[in-house]
Amino acid sequence: MHAFATILGDDKAVLQPDHRPWPRYQVDEAAWIRAAHAMRNGVCTLVGYWGEAKQVHLALATASYDALCVLSLACPEGHFPSIALVHLPAARLERTIADLFHLRARGAADLRPWLDHGRWAAGVGAAPAGSAYAFLPVEGESLHQIPVGPVHAGIIEPGHFRFTACGETVVRLEERLGYVHKGIERLMAGASLAKAARLAGRISGDSTVAYAIAFAGAIEAATATRVPPRAQWLRGLMAELERIANHLGDIGAICNDAAFSVMLAHCGLLREQVLRAAEACFGHRLMMDRVVPGGVATDLTDAGAVHIEALIGEIRRCLPPLISLYDNAASLQDRTVGTGFLRPELATRFGCGGVVGRASGRAIDVRRRPSYPPYDQLAFDVPVLMQGDVNARVWIRIREVECSLALMTQMLRRLPAGPLATTIAAGDNAGSPQEGMALVEGFRGDILVWVRLNPDGSIDRCHPRDPSWFQWPLLETVIDGNIVADFPLCNKSFNCSYSGHDL
């Protein structure tokens, strides 16, 4: 509580009941602005920022993530003081709030629509139809622009990048996202728990387990449901499988962007083995819909456990030669070392989580703190590097694969017996709506899901926030000092989500 005392001020802030596990306060504009300054001064970190019909919410964490809270500001007039005016990382979230809820951030400098391309049906978005997007200005002689995307040459998600360059020297890079906006938040509103869980698993297909755990966690927090231990441990197992699969894919893909196809071939093979193990043990290669509110949908058989043990052994056997291959390929190191440098202080200011943050010295892993089961009972390392370049991001991934392997071994050994799921008891307190929030470490970083349930147990409002929100803006800056041709490496080493960001 007292972690946020200076922000909340005397007693104007009203603690809202039934918001779990962290408190939510209804605040006034003064506290709202104090929060913005606290974030700018590095006292707090911006964790989430979302809107609804006549209200905006701000999720804050202390710098070390040992305490969190949500601040809510009512804005009956349709506007609220801009946080971005003080604390820039909030800018895109604020623009999104304007797009989706027609709530205006007072004093914000950047009033351009973000997710809204002026194409949605009348009245849905805030952007005027058919208006061209104004890219930010660049000055200098003989500059040209390189528009890339939304349809890329490779198999990646759609997004538009606008480089302004002089030959190979990039002067500015600006992202234009929102192409995969599917209106998930609105689809969630009023959806049944089952439908919403399916949607949550498809916010970002690569992190389906993490999102499902986060969504289930938020629901369980809101309804104060106790999840059976076996389900929690199985969730952990799936989450680590997912992390390993994605990290292996990323390591291979980063090397392949430097045209080092041997690494891709080996990593691709390992990844395929992980996915096959997932299919054998949990019935789905990506483990979609295996985590449900209240528990998990599939059990791990003994044969499955043996399969995973074998997989762990196989990866442990294959990884070291791959690492030395990476480490000894001078031509590859030449591409990755020093490329795409992210300043640690920027990573901290933006609250950039995951591999990107940890490669730039931000030692935050929500599995460690604020932590959630089963990680609160497990021992593991959080690898951190200070270099902040592509090479550091590759190394963090390698180390995290090793950590995940260790975690999985522990989980397999200590996997408790018991039931797989309990039912969600929703709507038993008819008074105030139940609200819950969860913070889960996906392979990209911390995923936040906030829900409010209707009394009938359906979803009233659900806001999932992808870690990419705080990584995308930083990608624009790591290109500084690099040339156009180095961007793919930077981009792949960030591997931000489009779908999870655009919703």
């Binding site: 391309h117 194409r119 949605w120 049906a121 849905v124 939304p150 349809v151 040459a153 490779g154 198999i155 990646i156 998600e157 759609p158 929102g178 192409y179 995969v180 906006h181 599917k182 209106g183 998930i184 609105r186 689809l187 439908k195 399916r198 949607l199 498809r202 916010i203 970002s204 297909g205 690569d206 389906t208 894919g249 891709l264 071939a265 691709g268 093979l269 990844r271 395929e272 996915l275 299919e279 290669r285 990506l286 979609m288 989500s497 489009y498 779908s499």
Partner: protein, 122 residues
């Protein structure tokens, strides 16, 4: 191309290139520009924001060309059907020659679908 998928289908399409499925041995490979393409592999429920891009990509591809819709979403929007930001299936924007179901379809399914297309066209 991705017309609004959740990235699940992309992951499995990527897997086609790994040495287990090895798409290239069938003489199929992914190309860098629609100008070089014969088949457009479209994933996802087409979002409103991507509709024009999909249409332009289709127009940019020289005939004869085929469109393969990948995944359940690409059929009718899947779980995202009914949203203000989603058009629906790929067929609502461009003519689809083949639909490979699954959420996401496994690489095996993708492979057999593509090979079936290869068989019917040649």
């Amino acid at each position: 191309m991705d017309a609004g998928s959740c990235n699940g289908c992309e992951l499995e399409i990527h897997a086609l290139n790994n040495i287990v499925y090895d798409l290239e041995r069938f003489g199929l490979r992914f190309v860098a520009s629609p100008r070089h393409a014969d088949v457009l592999l479209v994933t996802g429920p087409v979002t409103v924001n991507m509709r024009e891009a999909l249409q332009r990509t289709y127009d940019a591809t020289p005939a004869p060309k085929w469109v393969v819709a990948v995944g359940d979403c690409a059929l009718d929007g899947g779980v995202f059907a009914g949203s203000y930001a989603v058009v629906g299936g790929v067929a609502k924007v461009v003519p689809v020659d083949l639909h490979i179901p699954g959420c996401p379809p496994t690489p095996q399914q993708l492979l057999s679908g593509l090979l079936a297309l290869l068989q019917t066209t040649s």
